[in-house]
């Protein structure tokens, strides 16, 4: 007979990862770039305080789906989105939604670290300032410090906050971008291949950070590394030619996927 620890009992009662409440939900999402359809009827739930990984071959629509979640596709002229996407059950494509506010609630970290050509401090302070999150200078200092701390960067940069962010190493720049995303207190953080430009050690630090952030944020990550998806996520969604072909607990996806296309993709076989 196994002795269950309290934590294990709690987990058992909470249930498996799949029972997490949906923070965001896509229903029959279609995306067109001009006449070309990039996503076909994609329905996917994003569980709260979980890491959801989006995987699949290049061009299958992972970034397109990710961009739907904070309406970044609005910035692409030829892009058209149909279907429904909700954040806390509220339709984010509703005309009454303030897109700037939406992007503060659903932040984004890109593939290539892209700090502004300003100081480390300004990179983090920029968002809270334009969103009016800090009334006094002292508040802003506090937000910058906690954000850098949460991004695991504060100790490395505390003595050079006013030096340019672009002078940091690639891994530090990416954590600076994560600090910048965190600074506006988002609820969801979208990451598009955040480690593809980083070396293994910087990657490990970002992955560790993702795991810590999960406690307070809901995270969706696009990754090309199967091992990374297996390490950081609780749920994995597999895209293929614009379709969502399979979605499930990460453990199962990487040991016993159902769909032939998922099997071929994650094991590196010809599809």
């Amino acid at each position: 007979m196994n002795m269950l620890t309290d934590a294990a009992v709690e987990t058992a009662l909470e249930g498996a990862p799949e029972s997490k409440a949906a923070k965001m939900r896509g229903e029959k999402v279609n995306v067109f770039y001009g006449g070309k359809q990039a996503l076909f009827d994609v329905s996917l739930d994003v569980g709260e305080n979980q890491v959801t990984a989006l995987i699949g071959p290049s061009g299958c629509g992972k970034s397109t789906f990710l961009r739907c979640l904070n309406r970044m596709n609005d910035t692409i002229d030829i892009a058209r989105v149909t279907g429904k996407i909700t954040l806390d059950d509220e339709d984010i494509y509703n005309p009454r939604i303030d897109v700037v506010e939406l992007r503060a609630r659903v932040g984004m970290v890109f593939q290539k670290p892209n700090p502004f050509p300003k100081s480390i401090y300004e990179n983090v302070a920029y968002g809270p300032r334009i969103h009016g999150l800090a009334s006094a200078k002292g508040d802003l200092d506090g937000i910058v410090e906690t954000s850098l701390q949460k991004a695991g960067l504060f100790n490395e940069v505390k003595d050079r906050l006013h030096e340019p962010g672009t002078g940091l190493s690639g891994g530090q720049q990416q954590r600076l971008c994560i600090a910048r995303a965190i600074a506006v207190s988002p609820e969801v953080i979208l990451m598009d291949e955040p480690c593809s430009a980083l070396d293994p050690i910087a990657t490990a630090r970002v992955e560790e950070l993702i795991d810590e952030l999960r406690e307070n944020y809901t995270i969706v990550i696009v990754t090309h590394s199967m091992q990374q998806a297996a390490r950081v996520s609780q749920r994995t969604a597999m895209f293929h030619l614009g379709n969502l072909v399979e979605e499930g607990p990460t453990d199962k996806m990487f040991t016993n996927p159902e769909d032939k296309r998922t099997q071929d993709y994650i094991t590196g076989r010809f599809g």
């Binding site: 199967m226 091992q227 297996a230 990487f254 040991t255 016993n256 996927p257 998922t262 099997q263 071929d264 994650i266 094991t267 590196g268 076989r269 010809f270 599809g271």
Partner: protein
């Protein structure tokens, strides 16, 4: 199953499969030879089993090394991951079968002096054939990717257990009839027990093979009743 984009990945997996098959064949022939050597007091044959065990160990070491290198190099996923981890486990069961056969072979000298009752040697022979069929079948079915056949294989093991119980009773009877049989019968008893344990390893292999092929565990079996233990106590 489609081929890997990196062809050498397929070759590495095939090599591991081949080692597993070699080990399976060796386990079968060692079990057979050891039992025959015991029943016919064939010292030379027994010696061969002992030296085969060195080959078995070397194959297991090679398989382990190849599997570990493959994991480090390829970071296998899904069925590939199951195949590699499963191969390591199956190889360890096959290596244990080799040890059990060697253990039977080592008794040949001791039993040799005293005559083995004919009838008794017949029922151990039957048990050995049952076990041998299992050992040969399990690797074959795995290599042929026949998951459903593995289920029946595990069920077959129960017949071996039942047969073992009857051999055990028979041996007790002989020992009680004539104390001069005790030495020979004790060795035969160990031999039968070893054969029964070979059967258990086959069951483990079948369970592993099933998991590799399907990604699911075989449903748990009901706990088996060990009648020989009760006989000893009463």
């Amino acid at each position: 199953m489609a081929e890997h984009i990196v062809a050498s990945f397929d070759q590495e997996l095939e090599h591991i499969d081949r080692l597993l098959r070699d080990m399976g064949e060796l386990a079968g022939s060692m079990t057979q030879a050891a039992t025959r050597a015991l029943l016919t007091s064939d010292n030379a044959l027994a010696q061969r089993v002992v030296s085969d065990d060195t080959i078995m160990d070397a194959k297991q070491t090679e398989l382990d090394e190849r599997a570990i290198t493959l994991i480090a190099k390829r970071q296998p996923m899904a069925q590939d991951l199951r195949a590699v981890v499963g191969a390591i486990r199956m190889a360890s069961d096959l290596e244990r079968i080799g040890d059990l056969a060697k253990n039977i072979a080592k008794r040949v000298g001791a039993v040799g002096q005293s005559a083995t009752p004919r009838k008794l040697s017949h029922s151990i022979d039957t048990m050995a054939s049952m076990v041998l069929a299992q050992v040969n079948a399990v690797v074959d079915r795995y290599v042929a990717r026949k998951a459903s056949d593995l289920v029946s294989l595990r069920d077959e093991d129960e017949k071996i257990d039942i047969h073992y119980t009857s051999v055990f009773r028979e041996l007790l009877t002989y020992m009680m009839e004539d104390p001069r049989n005790i030495t020979a019968c004790t060795h035969l008893l160990f031999c039968a027990k070893n054969l029964e344990r070979v059967g258990d390893h086959v069951t483990n292999i079948a369970e592993n093979a099933y998991y590799i092929l399907t990604g699911e565990q075989l449903p748990v079996q009901r706990p088996k009743l060990d009648e020989t233990q009760m006989t000893v106590k009463s």
